[in-house]
């Protein structure tokens, strides 16, 4: 599906002048502002709520009157060890990014540039994998990973389904296909080995693809809940998303201030992905991310 959509190209404002005055002059900004409010208000509440000693659910709570406090962050850290779970999230995400880059570049290059036996079969498999839904894999993958290979509560077990991202292979293949084949032949005639051609000629030319793939692989494993939730039982191995979810489901309701600590944890979990998105938002297009995040 990633090939069917095109990147969003910004249309210049002067291309479609507003012909009518009156209503349409304020309708568009009003719709957009309403939309932005609906999307951003929960984030505002998340941050404000996490900084209030007792998150206020009344209208006046939108503008906090009392002082702000870091107590909720201390609370959630006391319950789920934020640094440890953040480290776990980082290890899983980092592993997924490294695996995706290495395997993705190699496979994408081979599929785009090299002629070898089985290339057609492999590409057919790539296309097939795109349509296999993850829900079908959940149970057998759990049986294999946890029961057969004994990878419960291990980083390898958690990172396994994310080590190779088929979307990344696709992205790399598309980028390598755009490079002129003469470039590779020239390097080969100069006596460069194929790995050398890949490393010194092809890779520097597809840097934007590297960034795209890093961004799309970051969001997926960082935000993923179901798979690490299945694989981990030990609190010390859980990524933040799982630890926070367990806290939300089991502990929060029994505390006197159920929202504060949950919201503080939410801010910590959301911040890296949102921050990365804000910095690199130009690189997030419909094409890049369409299959990057699996339910």
């Amino acid at each position: 599906m990633s090939t069917t959509t095109t990147a969003v190209r910004e249309q210049r404002p002067d291309q479609q002048p507003t012909k009518r005055g009156g209503a349409s002059r304020w309708v568009v900004p009003a719709v957009l502002t309403l939309g932005a409010l609906a999307f951003l208000l929960p984030f505002y509440l998340m941050v404000i709520g996490s900084l209030q000693a007792e998150p206020d659910t009344s209208i006046s709570g939108l503008v906090p009157s009392g002082g702000l406090t870091g107590a909720n962050y201390a609370n959630i850290d006391g319950s789920i060890d934020l640094w440890r779970t953040l480290l776990n999230s980082g290890v899983i995400t980092g592993g997924a990014i490294v695996g995706t880059l290495v395997f993705g570049v190699l496979a994408g290059y081979a599929l785009a540039v090299l002629h070898f036996r089985g290339r057609g079969t492999l590409f057919a498999m790539v296309l097939l994998v795109q349509v296999i839904p993850f829900q079908l894999l959940t149970i057998p993958l759990y049986v294999l990973t946890v029961r057969t290979y004994g990878l419960a509560d291990s980083y390898l077990g958690m990172v396994l389904p994310f080590l190779v991202n088929t979307t990344a292979v696709f992205v790399f293949r598309q980028f390598f296909l755009q490079l002129p084949p003469d470039l590779f032949s020239a390097a080969r005639i100069d006596g460069a080995s194929e790995l050398r051609v890949l490393w010194s000629v092809a890779l520097p030319l597809v840097r934007p693809a590297l960034l795209t793939v890093v961004l799309l692989t970051f969001i997926g494993p960082w935000n993923e809940f179901l798979w690490p939730f299945l694989v981990t039982k030990e609190a010390s191995m859980q990524p933040l998303a799982v630890a926070l979810a367990n806290y939300t489901a089991n502990v929060a309701a029994t505390t006197s201030n159920p929202y504060g600590a949950v919201l503080a944890g939410s801010v910590v979990l959301a911040a890296p992905a949102v921050g990365l998105f804000l910095v690199f938002q130009r690189h997030f297009t419909a094409t890049n991310l369409s299959a990057g995040v699996k339910g």
């Binding site: 190209r9 939309g35 829900q135 959301a270």
Partner: protein, 331 residues
């Protein structure tokens, strides 16, 4: 993998013929000016190293996708239960017994009904809001980047983090209810058996909307400006133009949005698990994947859970096919 099958005469040429530009590459592939092919090339194609480079990915696909899919199908027709590690146990063939159990389980019926409720609310909401926002964004004179970023932020944020805020919003003593005052539903949103699933559908629509706005925004670039001009000449106002030019113009994207939203719905797990405390009240917001988790892992019946997974995938496949069929008959 076929990449590892023994060499056959002419294998090199057959693999290169399937490749791109096979007529021109013979001159530009950098092959040493030697007559004939080396043994390796005869066995693996013109670039034998390609096999080596693609092998890790191929092995991964086989181990993490192909084998589990086969295992799921196998488990679904056998009596499969968890045993102590290293203990060999029999998994007798039971035919369609697991499927019979799944298809007659009232919990499963409820879960599919819940997903139907989800789709009936989520899909039209997603299509309508995403299209309206995309059209507005396309016409905006100022602040495009800001609005685009604002719409997209929930999409890149973890569901688990957003669930925290929505509990804060929709809880019994939450923000929404304190705004509604006496109009607040009783029992409240997430513990109300007729409002729990609609609440989840609304949450998911909100979270995913930014992505669909981007899809529509891309599609709007391809709607011909002439059509708008012609419609405008004929005296059609903005609203009329929206329904006669824009909506038909982005029809293929709408089909894609419907398919993707359907797949999202079929994958639903985190939201009912966390927003409604494991699919409550009384299973009113249980999703099939949540049920798969409960059946397969909590209750230790991965065989029936696999059967449920296959039933789910077949149903989603049928929905997607139906969608495409409808689209084709319309055009």
């Amino acid at each position: 993998m076929s990449a590892l099958t023994p060499a056959r005469p002419g294998s090199a040429s057959s693999s290169s013929a399937s490749g791109r530009g096979s007529t021109t590459t013979s001159a530009s592939d950098g092959r040493p000016p030697r007559r004939g092919l080396t043994g390796l090339q005869r066995a693996f194609g013109r670039h034998p190293i390609g096999v080596l480079l693609a092998l890790p990915y191929a092995v991964f696909l086989a181990a993490v996708f192909a084998y589990p899919v086969v295992l799921a199908a196998w488990m679904s027709v056998h009596d499969w239960f968890f045993s102590a590690p290293g203990v060999e146990v029999d998994h007798p063939f039971v035919g369609f017994e697991n499927y019979r159990q799944v298809l007659t389980d009232p919990q499963v019926h409820q879960a599919f009904l819940n997903i139907a409720v989800f789709l009936v609310i989520n899909v039209p909401l997603t299509v309508a809001l995403a299209l309206v926002l995309a059209v507005a964004l396309n016409r905006a004179a100022r602040g495009r980047t800001f609005f685009r970023v604002a719409f997209y932020v929930p999409y890149v944020t973890a569901s688990v983090a957003l669930v925290g805020v929505w509990l804060f919003l929709l809880g019994g003593d939450g923000v929404v209810n304190s705004l509604l005052g006496p109009l607040a539903p009783d029992p409240s949103w997430l513990v109300n058996s007729s409002l729990a699933m609609p609440s989840i559908a609304g949450f998911v629509a909100w979270k995913q909307l930014g992505f669909f706005v981007l899809l529509y925004l891309a599609a709007l670039q391809n709607v011909s400006k002439d059509l708008y001009e012609a419609a405008s000449m004929d005296g059609a106002g903005r609203v009329r133009q929206f329904f006669t030019v824009t909506v038909p113009g982005v029809r293929t994207t709408t089909a894609l949005v419907v398919i993707l939203a359907t797949i999202t719905g079929a994958n639903l797990f985190t939201e009912p698990y966390l927003l409604t405390g494991g699919g409550g009240p009384d299973g009113a917001s249980t999703s099939p994947v949540l049920l798969m988790y409960q059946l397969g892992i909590e209750q230790g019946n991965p065989d029936t859970a696999s059967a449920l997974g296959i039933v789910l995938v077949v149903l989603v496949g049928l929905l997607v096919l139906l969608n495409r069929r409808l689209l084709r008959s319309e055009s």
